[in-house]
Each structure stands twice: as structure tokens, then as C-alpha cells.
Symmetry: C2
Subunit: 408 residues, 2 copies
């Protein structure tokens, strides 16, 4: 098999851990596989570099920040290649440029435009293990770029797609994707398999195992992606195309997000162009609106509710002050202590009554639902934040997630 393995900052956080990673890579190689390794900067290193820049100014140039931050992974690739050579496994450090990662020139959050896997394949052909710097690439203008949050995962997936790897293993500090947060529900169960689509919903809903971009890229190019633990053995969770087994299971996971705030504008004149006015202004301020609900109009007045990231609450408040007057609405309310609780599953497509069951389960615990939004494979409810754990636990039990047989 041709396997891409990606190790994050915690997995390479010390010389001892780098040697541990080298041993894992060597084992995979000695079992007859071809291996390509992608690594992040040693944990703490990126923070150290950012803090150096911030001692000079709070607003450093993004191009220069990319040069600064990309130095972190260079240290790790060199050290890991040295450790592999030391174990008798020929290895070679490749920067993002050398690995052929070409991006656009949007510094600090560049998008991959193409991957030229030739040099990596050439190394493999000579029995050499390529050790690639994650998170970084090079623009058409030959500038160093970085890929933003979760960038190293994306590098691994993109390389896997370019060299047509059989498997892309993302090594992390959790041992897979769970039916829900094990810190809240002790019965949470590790999933053996999950579809790209479900994982995308989970990622966008706040499960932090994989960034959406990596999952989207993997889905687009059909990369078999697996989440595994660096620190304990196990088969992890495999991301693949939907299959029949998956459809038998109605709900695959329960997730929650406590980083949203709710805005309600009361007494909005119900006439064309008002919603466009409100959300246009918010979008111009680079605030991402998640859910939007408009109540049924009464006496030509309506209420509009929506959610925004809690970190944007001050900016949102400023905008609301002026826009409420401008559109002639009565008033607005901000509510921060809310949570979004969601159930996700490809089986929903073929099973009816899932939403009703969710509402009934929540009502049974006396939990009031403030907002609802649904997609083909997801139902989300905004509730009072204090009920988060109760809602997650009750839904997990009601949909029998602790003992379903997904992917077996």
C-alpha cells in the first residue's frame, strides 16, 4: 500500500516524540508499505513565533507572517528525516515548495491550486521516505504561503490525492471520531466508519477532529481518510463514500456548539429588501451568519432571529444599533448563553420522523427549542446553553448511539 501519514504538533512536540513517530513510520515501511509523512511544527513553536512578531506590532504583514510561521515545519521535517535516517530508513525533508504544493497568494489562508507530486513520487521510487512540511505552499509568484487552520491535514490529503495514495492516516491525540463528546457522555462510542458528508456536518458543527476543508478535499478526490491515535494502537475511524451499512443507521452522531450567539430583531416592517439590508450589512463586516429564522408576519410586522459567532458579538451589537433605526424596527435583543445541538446521519434521508423524535425527546426534558434548522442529513436546534449536556446525553441515548453497529 501507498500510505500518507500526517502527524500534528503534539505528536512531534519533543525529540522523544519525534523519535516515536520515526519508529511508527519505520514500522509501516518495514511491513512492506510505501510511506509519505506530513508533519506540523512542534507544539508551542507557532505560538512562540507569533508572540515574537506581536512584540513588534499587533498587525504584522501577512506575507511576512507566512515566512515566519513556515519556518516551524522546516525544523520538524529536518529532525524527523534525521531520526528516520538514524533508524536506517532513507528519508528526505521536503518543504511545501519542494513537495509541489502550489497555492493562490492569499497569505495566511491560501487555497491549494494544484499539487505537483513528481518529486515525492521520484523519492518513493528510490526507496526514500519523503517527509513533507504541512501547512505551507508556494504561490505562483514564488512567495511562501500558509494554508490557515488545519492546514497540515489539508497538505496530507492533497498529497494523498496527487500521488493516488491508498490511504491517508491523520494521526492525532484522539483515537477516532465519536458518536458524541466523550467528556459529556461516557457511553460515547468510537465510529469505525463515517461518510464524508456526515463528517462535513460534524466538522462544521464544531467537532474539532478534522477541518471541513480537508474533508471536502478528500471527498472531491476520493481520498480514503482515517483518523487514528498517535499514542495508542487502534483502527481509528475511516472516512469513505456512503455505503449501505451506513444508511441502516439513522443517526450517526450528536454534536453541539456553544460558540454562537442569537440576535433577534423585533417588529421589523414586513416589506421587500429589508432582509437583504440587514444581512448585507452584517456580511460586509465579515461576520458569518449561521441560522436565520423569520417568524410569520402579524400586522405587517415580523421578527427576525439569527445566530453569529460569539466572538463577533460586539461588532454585531454596533451594527444592530444603527440598522434597527434605519429599517424602522422596534428593538433588538442579543442572547449569548445559547447552544446549538445537532444530530447527524445519512440514514435520515431514508427514515422519516427523525426530527419529530428529536423535538419530543427535548420537550420530554423540558428543554425549549428557540430555533430549528435542517439539512438532508442533519437537524439542529438552538436551546438554552445550560441544557447543553442534558440535551446531548438524552439524544445520544434516545437514538441508541451507545450500541448501534455502524460499519461492522
Amino acid at each position: 500500500m501507498l500510505i500518507v501519514q500526517k502527524y500534528g504538533g503534539t505528536s512531534v512536540g519533543s525529540i522523544e516524540r519525534i523519535q516515536n513517530v520515526a519508529a511508527k513510520v519505520a514500522k509501516t515501511r518495514s511491513e512492506g508499505n510505501d510511506v509519505v509523512v506530513v508533519v506540523s511544527a512542534m507544539s508551542g513553536e507557532t505560538d512562540r513565533l507569533v508572540s515574537l512578531a506581536h512584540q513588534i506590532t499587533g498587525t504584522p504583514s501577512e506575507r511576512e507572517m507566512d515566512v515566519l510561521l513556515s519556518s516551524g515545519e522546516r525544523v520538524t521535517i529536518a529532525l524527523l528525516a534525521i531520526a528516520l535516517n538514524n533508524l536506517g530508513y532513507p528519508a528526505r525533508a521536503f518543504t511545501g515548495r519542494q513537495a509541489g504544493i502550489v497555492t493562490n497568494s492569499v497569505h495566511t489562508k491560501a487555497r491549494i491550486e494544484r499539487v505537483n507530486g513528481e518529486r515525492v513520487l521520484e523519492a518513493l521510487k528510490h526507496g526514500v521516505i519523503p517527509v513533507i512540511a504541512g501547512f505551507q505552499g508556494i504561490s505562483e509568484g514564488a512567495d511562501v504561503t500558509t494554508l490557515g487552520r488545519g492546514g497540515s491535514d489539508l497538505t496530507a490529503v492533497a498529497i494523498a490525492a496527487a500521488i493516488k495514495a491508498d490511504l491517508c492516516d491523520i494521526y492525532t491525540d484522539v483515537d477516532g471520531v465519536y458518536t458524541t463528546d466523550p467528556n459529556i457522555v461516557s457511553e460515547a462510542r468510537k465510529l469505525d466508519k463515517i461518510s464524508y458528508e456526515e463528517m462535513l456536518e460534524l466538522a462544521s458543527l464544531g467537532a474539532k477532529v478534522l477541518q471541513s476543508r480537508s474533508v471536502e478535499y478528500a471527498a472531491k478526490y476520493g481520498v480514503k481518510l482515517r483518523v487514528v491515535s498517535t499514542f495508542k494502537d487502534g483502527s481509528g475511524t475511516l472516512l469513505t463514500e456512503e455505503d449501505k451499512d451506513m444508511e441502516k443507521v439513522v443517526v450517526s452522531g450528536v454534536t453541539y456548539d456553544r460558540n454562537q450567539a442569537k440576535v433577534t430583531i423585533v417588529g421589523v416592517p414586513d416589506k421587500p429588501g429589508i432582509a437583504a439590508k440587514i444581512f448585507g450589512t452584517i456580511a460586509n463586516a465579515n461576520i458569518v451568519v449561521d441560522m436565520i429564522i423569520q417568524n410569520v408576519s402579524q400586522e405587517s410586522l415580523t421578527d427576525i432571529s439569527f445566530t453569529v459567532p460569539r466572538s463577533d458579538i460586539n461588532k454585531t451589537n454596533e451594527i444592530m444599533k444603527s440598522i434597527t433605526k434605519e429599517i424602522g424596527a422596534k428593538e433588538y435583543e442579543l442572547k449569548e448563553d445559547i447552544a446549538k445541538v445537532s444530530i447527524v446521519g445519512v440514514g435520515m434521508k431514508s427514515h422519516s420522523g427523525v426530527a419529530a423524535k428529536m423535538f419530543t425527546v427535548l420537550a420530554g426534558e423540558g428543554i425549549n427549542i428557540m430555533m430549528i434548522s435542517t439539512s438532508e442529513i442533519k437537524i439542529s436546534c438552538v436551546i438554552d446553553a445550560k441544557y447543553t449536556e442534558l440535551a446531548v446525553r438524552t439524544l445520544h441515548k434516545a437514538f441508541e448511539l451507545e450500541n448501534s453497529h455502524k460499519g461492522t
Copy 2:
């Protein structure tokens, strides 16, 4: 003027010092000059990186070490560019590759093959200050290389040559080149000017201000090179072509080297091929021989003396054991506590009696001369190490270096 300024590790050893450098660069720019900056890694950083690699193995691959070490300068160029931007001076960080430094592929001590200054000139044209990573380049095979000891100085000189700069300022922690070591002779005087040739002799004789390679490169391309202090104002020492002023001064400097050891082979059969045998064997062991003296033959037997770096004394001893037998010599002696004291000056070319004066001065202090070697602009004597300071002080005074008027 178009000026290249190079700042070493101590000059950029902290955020405060980087900001100090930014202020100096900004000042030069605001005085109407175009400025290109070359920097080293922050002091201590290279040692930190080397020690990480050495925790894995004492013999890391040189290609990987270059990837590792070259990350150090990337941090400095980014931080200095950010600091300049913050002062309102547009600046851009360039890695060795981006600055067009193309080298051969001898990792850890690559030689510059050519410099493509286009991108640097393009930046200057747009009023941007290029901040270039010293010490690093890129091979034809697109691998990262480093230039070895004194590599950042070499980068500065090579860039200056490529963009035809009017001046290349090497900022360091001393304020110029002195007539001798001020730690030994308090009357040592800073030279305003010195010829490339003299500087080359000084550098190869152990004066540590500039590496020979940078001086050679500057001489070859006629780069006006100046050594100046980062920490105090002053005009430093300018390296240029020889001029008439210089020739008036017989001796420009006195220097010494205590890192040599002396080997004497006694009773060597005086026949063809013997010297080739001895020095061929030593060269094969990568030991660099400095001075060689052969005594007048007596009864077909001769004595041969030579000096080697003191760090190679054990290797040399092993070789001597076997070769003495092989060539049928009587015996050999090793002497470690020696020093080489030298006087340097382009004026020697046109003044006679300089050597005689040197020998007389040393004899006057009861200092025995063990070996002598001369070049057109230099006379070196090997003496007992314990007389080093006495010899340097006496020669400095005898040639009136404390009050000559060089370069005025």
C-alpha cells in the same frame, strides 16, 4: 547610494535589537539611499537547532541539517521586515532562494555559483526594502543549501556584486579592523582603510572580523566592503583596491595565531620523492599544512618541519608514527605550545629591510624564531607560545602602528 547592510546574529539577537536594526536601516533609507539588508539567525538559534539534531544522532545528514539550520534566518528576515513595515518603511522578506542565490550542492558548505538579483532590484524599484536571509541558497536541484562559516557575510557581498551596490556594510560587534588585537595592545589603532590583499592575509592569519571567502569575493567583483559597529557610531574600516596612501605605510597590522602545532621529522634521507610521500599522506587525511621548512642537508640527511592545526594533532601523531618508519627517518617531534606572529602590509613591496627589522626586534627581546615564511605582503615567524603577547606588543611599537596615518 545603493547600500547593502549585513547584520550578524548578535545584532539581531532579540526583538529589541531587531527594532534597533530596523531604526538604523530606516535612517539610511530616509537619508535618500536605497538599502538592501542581509541578516543572520538570532544569536543562539543555530546552536539550539544543532543541539536538537544532536539529540537524535551525532552524524545527521548534511542535506537535512541545511533544511534545519536555514529556518533560523527565515525567522529573522520576517521579524525585521515586520519591524520596518511598522516604522512605515515598506519591506519584504526574501529567503536565499527568493534572493536568487544559486549554489552548488555541497551541503553545509556550498559555494555560490551565481546570483540572480532581479527580484531584489524589482523590489528596490518599487521603494521596498529587501530583507534577505544570509547563509543560505538553493542548489540547481532545488534543495536548500547553506554556505558554511561566515556565510552571511558572503551573501551580503554576493548580493552587492549582483546588484552593483555602491557599498556593502558589514555590521558587527567590533567597530573596524585594528592594527592588532586591542586585548593585547591597548594602543592598537582602528584602520580607516585596508586593501583586499592585506585583509586576506589578516583573515587567513586568524583575525576573525571577516572570513577569507567574503574578502576574495569582494576583491574579485570590486565590491567596496566596510566593517562597521552595530552598537556605536563610527566610520569603520573600508576595504578597497590598493592605493598610493597605503603603499606609504610599510606595515598595516600585526597578527598572531595560536592554533597551530609544529612537527619536525629528524634525519630524513635526502632523496627525491620523500617530501611528496610525507605531505601526500597528510593531505589524504584532510589535514591542512600551513608552513613547511626543510633544513640544509648534512651527510645526505635532512630535517623537515611543518605546522598543522592544533586540533589535528592526534591524527598527525598517528600518521607520523608509521611514516617515520616507512621513509627511514630517525625520529619525529611534536610541539604544541607555539604561536605564529605575522606582520602584514602592501608597503612591504616597495620597502626593503622589513624582514630584517622584524627579526632584529624579536631577537632584541630574546625571542627565538623557529620557522619563517614570507609572501609579498606578509612575514610570519613561529615562536614559543609564551612570548606571543610580548612579540605582538614589541612589533606593534617598532613599526609605529599606534600613530601611523594610514588612509587619511
